[in-house]
Amino acid sequence: MAVLELDAVSGGYGETEILHNVSMTVEAGEIVVIIGPNGAGKSTAMKSVFGLLNLTAGRLLLDGDDITGTGPEKVVRLGVCYVPQTENIFPNLTVHENLEMGAYLRNDDYSGRLDEMYALFPPLAAKRRQPAGTLSGGQRQMVAMGKALMLEPKILLLDEPTAGLSPKFRGEIFRVVRDINKAGTPILMVEQNAKQALSIADRGYVLVDGKNRIDDTGKKLLANKEVAEMFLGGGKKTKS
C-alpha cells in the first residue's frame, strides 16, 4: 500500500483550477521527485496534500486512509510534514527553538530526536543558540528540514529545497535528503534542478500544464529524450 496517493486530483486556489486529474503515489522508503516547467502546478500538487487547496475532484490517501479535505493543522497530526519553499523557518527563534517548535505536537520526551537532528545536520550543532535568521541559505534549509523531521513524520514533503542555493550547498542538501530517506522517511519533493534530483530519486513525475505527462523511474527519466529536452539542458545552457 502506498504511503501517500493522489488519486485523480483536480483543484486550485479559489475559482482557478490548476491541477487537472493529477495522480501520483509515494511508496514506503521512496524518494519521489516532481519536475516540470514553471507554472506546471508542481508546488500546487504538493500543497493539495496539505489541505491548502480547494479540491474539485479526486481523493488523497495516507496509508490507505482518505484524508481529502483535511486542514493543515490536522494533516500534520496525521504524520505529514511539509517544508515550504520560502518562509520555512522562524527567523527570530534560535536554531534549537525552531527544532523545539517542530516538536510542538509531541508530548513525550524528544531529546533523543533533537540529538539525532544535530547528528544529521552537524553544522547546526555549533549554532544551536543562534537566531535561525542569521544562518546561510543552506543551513536555513537544514533547520527547516530538521524542524519538519522532529515529528518523525510518515512522509516528508519538500518544496524546492535547493532553490537559490549555490551548487556546493545544493549537493549538500541532496546528500542530506538521501540520508533522511535512508533513515526511513519517504520523501516527495518538487525540484527545479531536475538532473541532480532525478539522480537521487527512485521515481519521478513530470507535470505539464497541471497534468501528468510522464512518470517513470529516476534513471529512465534521466535517459528520456523528451525530459532531456525540456529540463536537462537539451540545446540550452546546463544549470546544474
Binding site: F50, P72, E73, V76, R77, Y82, P84, E87, N88, I89, F90, P91, N92, L93, E97, E100, M101, G102, Y104, L105, K147, L151
Partner: protein, 296 residues
C-alpha cells in the same frame, strides 16, 4: 541635581515603567494578531476599576489585589476575543482595527455606566515621600511601582524565552502561516497573548491609578504614548516595547526640566506632544523601530 533626580528622572522612570507595561500588550497583539488594538487603553482602565472595587470590598493593598484583577480582566478580554474579534480572524486588518476602536468605545461606556465618571482614588490622602541623602525624595509608591514593573517584565522575559507557549508566541509573531503548518495550536497562542497582554495592561492601569487617581479616560489618555513606545521599540518586539516605554516616559518628564535658564524647556502641557513627535520621527526615519520590528 537632587531636584533633577527627585522631580524629573524618578517620575520619568515611573511613567516609563507604566508605558512599558502597556506597550507589551500592544506589541504582542500586533505581532501575533496583526492589528493595532485601540481598545488596549480601556483594558488598562478596566484593570484599575476592577482593582478599585476589590479594594473597596477587602481593604487590601492594590499591589496585593493586582493578581486577582489580572485574572478578572483576562477573562473579560478572552470573552471579548471569543465573541468579538474571533469572527474577524480572516478579515482585512483595517476592519479589525476599526472593530477595536468600537470595542474601545463600548468598554469605556460600560466602565462609565458601572463606576460613574467622577475621579476616584485607591488610597485617600497624600503620601509623604521618603528622603534619602537629605535631599533625594522618593515616594514609597514610586519604589513599589518600579519594583513591581521590573518583576513583571522579568516574568514576561522568562515566559517568552523559556516556556513552550512563549516560544510559540514568538514563532507565531515571526510567521503565523508557518506556525499553522508546524502544528502549533494557533488559537491557544492567541489566548495566551490576550492573557499576557491583558495582565500587563491591568498592571499598567493599576500603577497609573496608584500614582494618581482612577478615571474612565485614564487608559485612553496614555494610549498615544503607549503606541509611541511600541513603535519606538519596533512593532512586534516585546523587549523593544519595554525599552521604548522607558524612553518615552523619560523623554516626556525630562522635556519639562529647565535645561536652559530657569524656565522648563517645554511647558509640561506639551508632554503628550513629545511622545507624538518621537512617534512621527520614528515612522519617518526608522519605521522598523530601535529593535528592527516589522514594517507594514
Amino acid at each position: 541635581m537632587m531636584d533633577f533626580l527627585s522631580f524629573y528622572l524618578i517620575p520619568g522612570i515611573v511613567l516609563g515603567s507604566i508605558y512599558a507595561l502597556g506597550a507589551i500588550g500592544v506589541s504582542l497583539t500586533f505581532g501575533i494578531l496583526r492589528f493595532a488594538n485601540f481598545a488596549h487603553g480601556e483594558i488598562m482602565t478596566l484593570g484599575a476599576y476592577v482593582t478599585l472595587t476589590l479594594i473597596q470590598l477587602t481593604g487590601w493593598h492594590p499591589v496585593v489585589l493586582l493578581p486577582a484583577a489580572m485574572v478578572v480582566v483576562s477573562i473579560v478580554t478572552l470573552g471579548v476575543d471569543r465573541y468579538f474579534y474571533k469572527p474577524f480572524r480572516t478579515s482585512p486588518v483595517i476592519i479589525v482595527v476599526i472593530a477595536s476602536f468600537g470595542m474601545m468605545l463600548m468598554i469605556r461606556s460600560v466602565t462609565q455606566f458601572v463606576w460613574g465618571v467622577q475621579l476616584q482614588a485607591f488610597v485617600p490622602g497624600v503620601q509623604r515621600p521618603l528622603i534619602f541623602f537629605e535631599a533625594l525624595r522618593i515616594s514609597p509608591r514610586h519604589m513599589i511601582i518600579v519594583g513591581c514593573a521590573l518583576v513583571l517584565m522579568a516574568v514576561e522575559h522568562w515566559l517568552l524565552t523559556y516556556t513552550m507557549i512563549g516560544k510559540a508566541m514568538r514563532a507565531m509573531s515571526d510567521s503565523p502561516e508557518l506556525a499553522r503548518l508546524t502544528g502549533i495550536n494557533t488559537e491557544m497562542v492567541i489566548k495566551a497573548t490576550w492573557i499576557v497582554g491583558a495582565s500587563a495592561a491591568t498592571a499598567a492601569g493599576v500603577f497609573l491609578a496608584y500614582d494618581s487617581h482612577v478615571d474612565t479616560m485614564m487608559g485612553f489618555q496614555i494610549l498615544l504614548p503607549v503606541f509611541a513606545a511600541t513603535i519606538l521599540g519596533g512593532i512586534g518586539r516585546p523587549y523593544g516595547a519595554m525599552a521604548g516605554g522607558l524612553v518615552i516616559g523619560l523623554a516626556e518628564e525630562l522635556s519639562a526640566y529647565p535645561w536652559i535658564g530657569s524656565e522648563p524647556l517645554l511647558s509640561p502641557g506639551y508632554k503628550a506632544g513629545v511622545a507624538f513627535a518621537i512617534m512621527v520621527a520614528m515612522l519617518i526615519w526608522r519605521p522598523s523601530g530601535l529593535f528592527r520590528g516589522r514594517v507594514f
